[in-house]
């Protein structure tokens, strides 16, 4: 009996172990595949062509710079929009809202997270695009700005739910201590609760940026997809083409193994590297934070 229990234990532990290692395996295999398909592009496509400013692959113009800048512009501004809204909503739900509002807001944010991005893109085309064109008097509403607003909306729920969980794990004693020392509610939130939950909040921001970086469908529908090289600040209010939209719209038609195919995979590698950098930066910042907190506590 005792032996059987032990054997079960070993089996279940190893199954769980395999599950854990499998994600490492999958990431490794994906990276290998990307490298295998994409790296030949560096060899086959001249560097000068690859880092030129014109993307028109069916005539062998493989300049990926406009695509990189398109992605950066849209992602950065989406994050700037989503950050204050996301963290603000999380603080409100976790720290300020009365119980019944909390019970109402949480599922609504989850529903927002569940709306497929293609639906948001559709609403974007029919409502947001015309609105911004008239409101900001632009030549067209299909711009980086419209894309950033929609992406912000898409990444807010991610930021809210993760940041709110992080705030909830801060022990009530911290807040009580803050208030007992005469700090106002806002001072307690800003000076005590938020720093205590910093690791989780940073993770939330990181996931939000990752969501914005990888989003494809909504962006493809509302940014206009013109591979324009940014030369001035007004680029924000003109059409751009992102890396994800380029892969999504061109992958279906491209001949396997061709230069165009390899360059699309190279773009995939770059996207992979971008999200890796975001992850590394975020984890570096959060571990440094923990060390300092430990120092204070000891």
């Amino acid at each position: 009996m005792e032996q059987k229990k032990q054997r079960n234990d070993v089996v279940i532990t190893s199954i769980i172990k395999i599950c854990g290692y499998s994600s490492i395996l999958f990431v490794g295999l994906i990276l290998l595949f990307l490298l295998k398909e994409g790296l030949p592009a560096i060899k086959d496509v001249p560097f000068k062509s690859l880092f030129s400013t014109r993307w028109y692959p069916i005539e062998d113009y493989f300049g990926i710079l406009p695509l990189i800048f398109g992605t950066l512009i849209v992602t950065i501004f989406a994050t700037l929009i989503a950050l204050p809204f996301g963290i603000g909503t999380a603080i409100y739900i976790s720290e300020i809202a009365p119980r019944w509002i909390k019970e109402l807001l949480k599922p609504i944010v989850e529903i927002l997270a569940g709306i497929p991005s293609v639906v948001l893109g559709f609403i974007g085309i029919l409502v947001v695009v015309p609105f911004f064109r008239k409101f900001l008097n632009l030549p067209t509403g299909l711009t980086a700005f419209t894309g950033a607003v929609l992406l912000g909306l898409i990444s807010i729920p991610t930021i809210v739910s993760v940041a709110e969980d992080a705030l909830n794990t801060v022990p009530p004693g911290y807040r009580q201590a803050g208030l007992a020392l005469g700090a106002t509610r806002w001072q307690t939130i800003w000076g005590v609760t938020l720093p205590a939950a910093k690791t989780g909040v940073l993770t939330a921001i990181m996931l939000g940026i990752g969501r914005a970086l990888g989003e494809t469908m909504a962006v493809m529908m509302v940014t206009g997809n013109a591979p324009v090289m940014p030369t001035k600040w007004s680029i924000f209010f003109s059409p751009v083409r992102t890396m994800t939209a380029t892969i999504a719209s061109e992958m279906g038609e491209v001949a396997t193994g061709s230069q165009h195919y390899q360059v699309l995979f190279l773009i995939g590698i770059l996207l992979f590297v971008f999200s890796l950098v975001i992850n590394i930066v975020a984890s570096a910042v959060s571990t440094r934070q923990r060390k300092r907190a430990e120092r204070i506590l000891s």
């Binding site: 695009v129 013109a226 083409r241 999504a248």
Partner: protein, 296 residues
């Protein structure tokens, strides 16, 4: 993309349950001789191909036809990979594709199944009625950027195009942007918006008075305005796209639509293609806004 997803529709026959199950499981490599036809390719043709597949059920209810979109290149690639019986294409097969097919032991056959006009469309508020082919080319090359240069209001021009994987895009590039000159290597201006679907182009043109776009005549709705286009030889003679003006050759921006089979068709595929070229099937062509081919 949307069209691709929506159009993976199997036009099935369910009158006799047992036999339809066995039909469904029969693989498509033996399809030449079976009663299952796999038809894939151009998004431009997909509605037409669906209408034909549906109508064919009354001609021969034993045949099952599956129609999928995805783009002309996708269809031809599938043909070379021997995964379809008929590939739809809104452009002619390329030399490389013929070579690849021959390397795979195929002998692709071409059938012109209809003609299509590419309509140039603008917002109904835009007072411009006509453009010469030269003006259109300059607009899409980015040399003309304001409507006032072509007799319109003082508004920026926003050029809309289909994505580069579209047969329509390639056709417009060759016959309008490059004015049919095969030596010309000019391309669309970088500022040209590349929209993933016909619906996206129609929606933006309908709503934005700055926009100009192009699309197959069959997709154009009454909420946008058609532009008359003149030829290089007779720049003052403007023609609106219509079934009649394509049929008599006066509207310039028109093209053939094709179906390709992996080899000289036999059996049910031959019967189906023969039916498509018949006057009965060609009536469906004009009903969908395409132009029927003349007396077969």
């Amino acid at each position: 993309m949307l069209i691709t997803v929506l159009c993976i529709i199997l036009i099935g026959l369910t009158s006799c349950g047992a036999s339809s199950v066995s039909n469904a499981s029969s693989s498509s490599d033996s399809a030449q001789q079976s009663d299952y036809i796999d038809n894939k390719g151009s998004d431009t043709i997909v509605n037409l191909a669906l209408a034909w597949a549906e109508a064919y059920q009354t001609v021969d209810p034993e045949i099952r036809i599956s129609v999928t979109g995805g783009g002309s290149g996708t269809g031809l690639t599938a043909l070379i990979n021997k995964s379809v019986d008929i590939a739809n294409a809104s452009r002619q097969i390329k030399q490389e594709e013929i070579e690849a097919a021959e390397a795979a032991g195929l002998n692709p056959q071409e059938f012109v199944i209809a003609r299509d006009a590419i309509a140039v469309i603008i917002n109904p508020e835009n007072p411009v009625d006509n453009l010469t082919l030269t003006q259109l080319s300059a607009i899409y090359r980015g040399e003309i950027t304001n409507w006032s240069e072509v007799g319109g209001e003082d508004r920026p021009i926003v050029c809309l195009s289909r994505e580069t994987n579209s047969g329509t895009h390639v056709f417009f590039l060759e016959s309008v942007v490059r004015l049919g000159d095969s030596e010309d290597t000019s391309i669309f201006a970088a500022e040209t918006l590349l929209l993933p679907s016909s619906e996206g182009i129609i929606a933006e043109v309908r709503e934005n008075p700055n926009a100009i776009g192009y699309d197959g005549l069959g997709y154009v709705t009454s909420e946008v305005k058609l532009v008359g286009v003149s030829s290089l030889e007779e720049p003052d003679f403007f023609v609106l796209p219509s079934v009649a003006s394509v049929a008599d050759g006066t509207y310039l921006i028109s093209r053939n639509l094709y179906m390709y089979t992996p080899d000289v068709p036999t059996g049910v595929v031959k019967e189906y293609i023969d039916w498509i070229l018949s006057s009965e099937a060609q009536e469906i062509v004009s009903a969908l806004g395409f132009v029927p081919i003349l007396d077969e």
